[in-house]
């Protein structure tokens, strides 16, 4: 039995289990201060150990960021410079390791989801495989050459510059860039442009979907051109907009315009750009996959 934490900026989700068919006691609570929130997660694990009459052999944390992933860094496993009050500099891995005394797997929330999708979901047997989330922000995780993609820092795909939609006069909401991808296409941008919740667009939906798919298709084609994944998984709240995924596929095919000579970029686009195979559980199963990986190393 292992423990998993999907540590989000809004809420923490915790569970114990061994895989997608054995995920138990899924529990969530709001993210408050680091002290309180991490203590609550630790209490959850201890409780589950008592209930099950056995200890967890590892913990995995799929964490909101930015985080330090360099194993040779003195601040490995810390949250670094986050706008979230109080959380900058929090030693997530150290706190859990000390409290629980087990190996702690740690990576970004999106890398966790990418790993879980590659192990149990839509990315099985594929490499590279990318998991994109479009929600409060836009982020991506990737498995490349059988390992999660790290680097200078973990990928920050949300802030790429995109070509604007000709009918889009919205200035964008990114505090750094205004009209970068996230500034134009994440949930808060939709909310600000259309002045209503993305789930309640009503008659504006067609126009909103057309713009949204144009922006996300640019991200999809950038990924195809730069990283050449064998499949791209699109998850997150905004991808629930009815009609968005089909429109995104169509726009991606039209942007590539036959240049990428592979069925994935033409006839097979429906099985190339896909929703998460694990549905809304990609995140929490990401933590579990990270726990398993921490043990197998």
């Amino acid at each position: 039995m292992m423990a998993s934490i999907e540590a989000g900026g809004t809420k923490f989700v915790c569970a114990v289990g061994t895989g997608p068919h054995d995920l138990r006691a899924v529990t969530s609570f709001p993210t408050t201060t680091p002290d309180e929130t991490l203590a609550q997660a630790i209490a959850f694990v201890r409780e589950q150990e008592e209930l099950a009459g056995q200890s967890v052999s590892a913990l995995g944390v799929a964490c909101f960021g930015p985080v330090d992933l360099r194993t040779d860094s003195p601040t490995f496993g810390h949250i670094t410079s986050t706008p979230k009050p109080g959380w900058g500099g929090t030693d997530v891995v150290g706190t859990f390791r000390q409290a629980l005394g087990v190996p702690v797997g740690f990576d970004t929330d999106v890398n966790g989801a990418a790993l879980a999708e590659s192990r149990w979901g839509a990315g099985q047997g594929l490499d590279p495989v990318v998991y994109v989330t479009v929600g409060t922000g836009i982020g991506a995780g990737a498995l490349v050459n059988r390992q999660l993609l790290h680097g200078l820092l973990h990928p920050e795909v949300g802030h790429v510059l995109v070509r604007r939609h000709p009918e889009d006069t919205f200035e964008g909401v990114c505090p750094y860039h205004g009209d970068c991808l996230e500034g134009l296409a994440a949930g808060p941008a939709l909310q600000a442009r259309w002045q209503r919740r993305p789930a309640d667009l009503g008659p504006l939906r067609d126009q909103a979907v057309a713009m949204e798919s144009w922006y996300l298709a640019q991200l999809a084609t950038m990924l195809m051109y730069l990283l050449s994944p064998e499949r791209i998984v699109f998850g997150g709240g905004v991808t629930k907009l009815p009609g968005l995924l089909p429109a995104l596929r169509k726009d991606a095919v039209s942007i590539v315009n036959g240049y990428i000579d592979a069925p994935a970029a033409t006839t097979d686009i429906d099985s190339y750009i896909v929703p998460p195979g694990l549905g809304d559980q990609a995140g929490i199963l990401g933590g579990l996959a990270l726990a398993q990986r921490a043990v197998s190393r």
Copy 2:
């Protein structure tokens, strides 16, 4: 002693040797028909073997594309669908292996250059590391998690959509996309926009450099956001434009605008975006690095 071939669409460069300080008999000839050109390369290797009184232990080919890199594919080592007359379907690896009877390392020209730069040049000890060439076309190779980046197909960064420069009214020359990156910023685009050879821009140079750096900086920041390399090497004829690299660095820093919280994207940009450590030999040394890799496998 090993043999290296930098197989370009315009010319083939051949050499034998053991590394950057022992690269011998560098010879080049125009790329004509596959039969004639491959035979000439084979004759070169045999000649060098006779001269040296020893056989080569392997050959590496850094090849123009598109090529099939999937080792489990029946057309592995072939050039696939190229506009270059006669070359579509050419079995490069098979031809050399049969003629020379030694292991043949094979990858794209840019992946070869990325491998050589990572082994002997500007990318030593870094991972991921990206090599970009801006010449007749725009391409990139990358080493990620200690292996060359392959995937659905090898990366085709040249054709990403970029945001247009506000003063650029040129329609672009890409036959697939018009104003994609390559259509706006490779050598032939410069030639067409300014109606003179890029080396002879004269008083137009400042304006040309400003546009060019704006487009290439978008590629650099896309790479930073999507692949997170520890260094990006920019080579190829167009990067010889005086002032281009400094302008590109400045534009990249200004596009990122402080969002990437790493010295590489701010104060250390001069050592982050760099010219090839191996100069114009990155390509031919790429073949040699591929040969070495073929043996060590």
